[in-house]
Symmetry: D2
Subunit: 302 residues, 4 copies
């Protein structure tokens, strides 16, 4: 059969940065400490394409993915991110004409969490992973990886809280009582969605549960599926005792990373973003930052 992909392009002899497939869903068996998780992952995989070639052999992308997934049924992978690394390396083997392969993946992830031991149930999070393999002379391949997570929690606004305190003090003189100075006041609070991503070199390893813990510690409060009446009160109180703008969530998250991840090298790149789905507006509020772990170590402790 005619190999149409290997023909020359009719027009526009350009090297293309990225040609691939997206939205491929696959079940992936991942070995966690004690048990095997099955992640339903979405993959996006691509390679570059040289100027003299009409098309990329996209069926190879699907094959690489399928073979890896099949192997994990017998032998689970260590992580979503190690799956991405394996795929990126293999793409360069199968697409001999390519110089760079990129893989990104996301998957829902469940953790048993609860406000107390007996109220634990599964909470859902998002895992994120990326890998980029690049030929770097001879048969050597340079690999850059990223691993991340997203967690939904709660924020309470520190500004509206102070405004309400002033407005209510005018209305309720008894609030001026010194013993009520620290009384948490009403504010608006909302769903907050925060994402943290580490760009890794070499073979540094990151445990995603630690990423999720870091995110939840930076929000006004984590949220839970099961909350009886008293528990609801505790979460609401906790959130209002830690009122935070998205700016606070982001800075608290970043400032906590040096102590939470002491073993990671300075060269690790950090991407963080957070979005609050405001209850008092129809739109969202967002903040994002990008910095190296080394720079964080030098500055965020201030």
């Amino acid at each position: 059969m005619k190999d149409v992909h290997a023909m020359a392009p009719t027009r526009g002899r350009l090297t293309l940065r990225s040609v691939g497939v997206s939205g491929i869903r696959k079940p992936l068996s991942v070995q966690r400490k004690d048990r095997v998780h099955t992640l339903a992952a979405t993959f996006e995989v691509a390679v570059d394409l040289p100027s003299e070639r009409k098309g990329s052999d996209l069926s190879r992308n699907a094959e690489v993915l399928a073979e890896l997934v099949d192997r994990t049924v017998e032998r689970p992978v260590a992580s979503l991110e190690s799956a991405c690394s394996t795929i990126a390396r293999e793409l360069l083997v199968r697409h001999a004409y390519a110089t760079e392969a990129t893989v990104s993946a996301s998957a829902e992830y469940f953790l048993r969490r609860g406000i107390s031991e007996e109220k634990r149930s599964f909470e859902d999070y998002l895992l994120l992973a990326e890998a980029r393999a690049r030929r770097s002379g001879g048969s050597r391949v340079e690999l850059r990886r990223a691993v991340g997570a997203e967690a939904v929690g709660m924020t309470a606004c520190p500004c509206a809280m102070e405004t309400c305190r002033e407005q209510l003090r005018a209305e309720y003189p008894a609030l001026a009582d010194a013993s009520l100075a620290s009384l948490p006041m009403i504010s608006h609070n909302q769903r907050n969605r925060t994402r943290l991503m580490f760009e890794l070199d070499d073979d540094a390893e990151v445990e995603v549960d630690d990423l999720i813990a870091a995110i939840e510690a930076a929000q006004s409060s984590p949220t839970y599926a099961i909350l009886k009446r008293g528990d609801e009160g505790k979460v609401v109180l906790d959130a209002h005792r830690h009122p935070k703008f998205v700016e606070d969530v982001l800075r608290d998250l970043l400032a906590g990373l040096p102590s939470a991840f002491p073993g990671l090298p300075d060269s690790v790149g950090v991407r963080a973003s957070t979005r609050s789905e405001e209850s008092i507006h129809k739109y969202d509020v967002e903040a994002s930052h990008r910095i190296s772990l080394g720079e964080l170590r030098r500055t965020a402790g201030r």
Copy 2:
């Protein structure tokens, strides 16, 4: 050319309830009191198909829509719902083999609203409309219409508020002061999305701005794009002075309809639903009901 649609089906000689097109986007000029709005509407239009016919002439659906939209450039329609009615009637004319035509449409809608006159800006809502035309003997066509709206507002939880009051009273004895009995307490609050739909017979008319006003009056508070510091405090206070479960939003909305729409007949069908995107959970809370305006008049006043 061969009329493949008019041929007999190869297999399964069934009358089909609904065959049509969906996701058609069109700009629609609508005449409002003082000015012409351009709605970007999504349409879904369908007719039934008799058992002896292989296919429905779907290009006619697109033509009916296009002709109506073209006419509105010169002569705006009165409402999204009157556009649906016109389309439904015309579908029965063009699909001579059909006995019923259904049209549904939704469109974003902007209203200038604000917490005060000088802070008004555009807030976005959703308009909803349906029409169903049915042949009822001879050339007569029976028409059933529905018109509705969706508004995003805010709810504050009445249960968590009382729990927090009790928990804080234990911690702050000064809260027991009688003058603080009505002090609004912290709770969780969130985005609420409420939808109201009227099923109309005959030629009763409903003003969508009145539907939106009814919804916003039933939420703990409306929300606004522009809120300066003091305004934020007002909205938060307003919401916490009207704490509501989704059940309360739904009942307050329904209970207010008889007085808000005195001119509509008892036969009007009412569909209402509300969803709160909980700040303390990762999932949503919902309530819905369906009742006639007549039944509401008899019962909801209690």
Copy 3:
């Protein structure tokens, strides 16, 4: 603590049809023939609410779900639909004031499929399930269940195919050769998404893989993740040898059910819908029908 939910509503003493939670994500272990699948399912659960009660005890919904999910870690459920039935029954136990409980769930589902044995890989489908439990006097509960699936496949248009045949015959006289009468001609083809749902009474069981097989048999062709050059040709040829309108997909699907499910009773309700994401339009084409299996047995064989 004050039980705010059990208080009387402030206004609008209406029984509400449905109050519940939606968008709860849970991992669910399901026992299939030979192995345990973990489904990531989305649940929506609700009960009705009597007029004298302000709120529904929604934390019980989350508890019922969590307990069921926890049990499946040790003892997998038989199906998504049996999980829904168990939840619906349990909701009536925990919400003593409710007369009806409804549960619906959906989950992605992977099957190893391929155009040939050695090219099998995981294809993704959607599982659907519903259960409705209703008190029917004394401690008796009446249960109605539904089980369904959605599969993505391909349709090729039979009308454009004939039009192209005529247009090309005018241009290429050699096409008139009798030996080319059955030559498949170019047409537009597209992604088709078809859904089939069975409403069951008593304890009839349906195997979802059979639902998926019925859907894929009714489309112009199934689609696959891994297709080498020759396989692509086979799929394209297969689709163009079975050109179908959405009307054809729907009728062929329905007409095939009596022979595919001989053991199910006549009383089974069938809901089917299909949508083609047209390649020659920016909008979709849809068809849907609802009928009993008994009626299908009487009519669709014609």
Copy 4:
């Protein structure tokens, strides 16, 4: 009232790259050649935040947007992109502590198009715009803008077409007739979504209708809402006479830009991406590239 935003951050004294609001929907009146369009636009606006400041004054973002939108009711803006530029400049005025402001916007856009003059109706496209304002010493502000569009069209696969030709020739010897050498053969075809974006400096202007025309010219065929039987044949034929991989769509689009936009400077940055929603797979195929117009002029003509 206490200005909580102006306080020092509690922890993590970091300058944050981006703090803002997203998902704000606004109606925007835009002056086109002959008439005023009302776009329903989604805006995302943000500024950076210095390390000594706890929060960004986000209400100012909503005010800037609202004021601009209000002005356009009387005096329409020239384009979505000029609105973004105005907003970006104004954000730097209102956020005195910020050094950079970014604005991005998207809006649905309707054009009257048809396969022939009498079958024209509204087709929907997507407009895209970005602006980035940066303080560059004194009161000077440096502005970078981008303007783009997305159009949905159709692609037919050139590889499957050749495979089918070979397979059908084996089955239909009459196809070997020399007069049938150019006969368009069956293939898979699908919805294609292609996006083109120009990054502009200075005051270069780009007409979005020209971007849309460039995209539609690069796809196998544009698509239309109204197609009667003969027209369907024409579109299908046109697509199969221009079979294209996503790689071809991308290269043809890029290669055509130098002649389509002769007046734009070499420094213009070009971002292009294209996605085909494959009919024979459940996943999508994508290609993307980024290049300067100058480099395109030097290379793509080859």
